[in-house]
Subunit: 323 residues, 2 copies
Amino acid sequence: MPATEFDIIDHYFRQPARRDDVVLSVGDDGAVVAVPPGKQLVVTTDTLVAGVHFPENTSAQDIARKSVAVNLSDLAAMGAQPAWLTLALTLPRVDESWLEKFARDFIDTAAQYGAELIGGDISEGPLNISVTAMGLVDADAVMRRDRAQAGDAIYVTGTLGDAAIGLALLQQDSINDDSSAWLAGRLNRPEPRVDFALLAARCCDCAIDISDGLAADLGHVLDASGCGADVRLDSIPLSPQALAHFNAAGGIDWDVILSGGDDYELCVVTAPANEAQLVQAARQSGTRLSRVGEIMRRPGLRFLDAGGETRALANRGFEHFSS
Amino acid sequence: MPATEFDIIDHYFRQPARRDDVVLSVGDDGAVVAVPPGKQLVVTTDTLVAGVHFPENTSAQDIARKSVAVNLSDLAAMGAQPAWLTLALTLPRVDESWLEKFARDFIDTAAQYGAELIGGDISEGPLNISVTAMGLVDADAVMRRDRAQAGDAIYVTGTLGDAAIGLALLQQDSINDDSSAWLAGRLNRPEPRVDFALLAARCCDCAIDISDGLAADLGHVLDASGCGADVRLDSIPLSPQALAHFNAAGGIDWDVILSGGDDYELCVVTAPANEAQLVQAARQSGTRLSRVGEIMRRPGLRFLDAGGETRALANRGFEHFSS
């Protein structure tokens, strides 16, 4: 029975190295890895806080999977191949069953994308899962926020709004059929677009993870690149489940779709000359990809309805500490 | 007035890149760095939780400095040159004055050791500061826990027990003179032994950060290396402030010194042939270094008093979740 942090690490998190670039893994003051020549290292950190990033009653497996996925989604947005992860886990108490499920799903999810847990830290305190993910890119071949140019096309992967609807349904205790369960699954079990991103990075140099909602995150691209965008609402991809939900609720709520957040999809911006290759990348990786608008010289992010009118959003996206 | 996580990052944590190996810093989905040819990457993560790793009323500056220092101490124990840091900061609320002090001292402390903040994440929740530090070592030249051999000499840097005494004095509200303030400073403002470690790594291949106390951490070296050790209590380095404290308290408390933890000193183990060079490394970096014992074939960690008798410890070191 593991009792202390060292026992927990030994018992649940130490595993044989799978990647041959891991020189020294879990169990020393630090891990040691070898970055291959010609590659640069991409580093990202994302934290999940109980009650903020996931409902308190979320399963250990879903928390584990999500804590890996949200970080791999950031690597994907940079066009980086996932390589290594560290985990800083703060736990209120030692719950053997929780830890066993969490550790197994964390390690398995990472492995599913070729990444390996190489180190971490376990502390006592309110539940907080902070992951740092490291990935590899060809030197100077990352996708960045500041590379959009007027005339570029704007694409998004997957469907938008599902996670925000799933959260609302969970909060209303309304997970009572396949459709609502699927929507909740989009919240709790996001799938980072790693395969697509690695192919897309060959023809695109601008992308962003739209986990705070397309409105906020495309806004970051526009701010960083110094341009504007026109996005057509009738091009925004919606799942059949989301459509059915909105039909039952009396109409589409664009705030939920564009600002609800927690969709770990990518927004990719590319020059017209590369669009065919980008579409091919989506086909090859089995990823739904939708062209939703264009980058414009005129500043501002405009969402246009079918009549070409600009539609105002009530809020721009999920932001911690916003009122 | 920064209001959201994006504003906070922009306002307090974005700074011009200082290191020319930082390709892309704070502000995208991930940071991008270049690892020089011939170097391996050392990665470590350490979290500070309010009320667990530091008293609740610790200043923003001390928390910032400590969160950097404890991670750089782990890099030092591996013999790695500090390079890059990411920060996952979970905050209960936006306190401008706290954030300004925290960010400035975090960035300044990192810079003092040549390291740069390249990314991170800000979330809402109970105060939790999780830092991932990355450093560089010559390929296959790290100091590891599993490299001790019978006949090796055991050294420690600095003085032991100061931080544990400082914590006890803080808890008793007994910081009332220069000596007690110095001891509390050893708890709140640890100085990682980076300069010494980089020199030591040239002649040693075994070291550990003894932040959980010498008893526990040297124990980890012995477990990993499959050997034992004899440590002489009269060789353990004590500060004049610790000695004065124990004199006033009626005698030396070896449990506090060997198991109190939070001394961010290093224990370095080396073959007799390298001892002269190690002592020179200490002199060159202005670091107090004490030879405290030897690695033995016989398993077990023995603390010997002046008469050569083995002294039992009440507990082995600070461990989260231990009873």
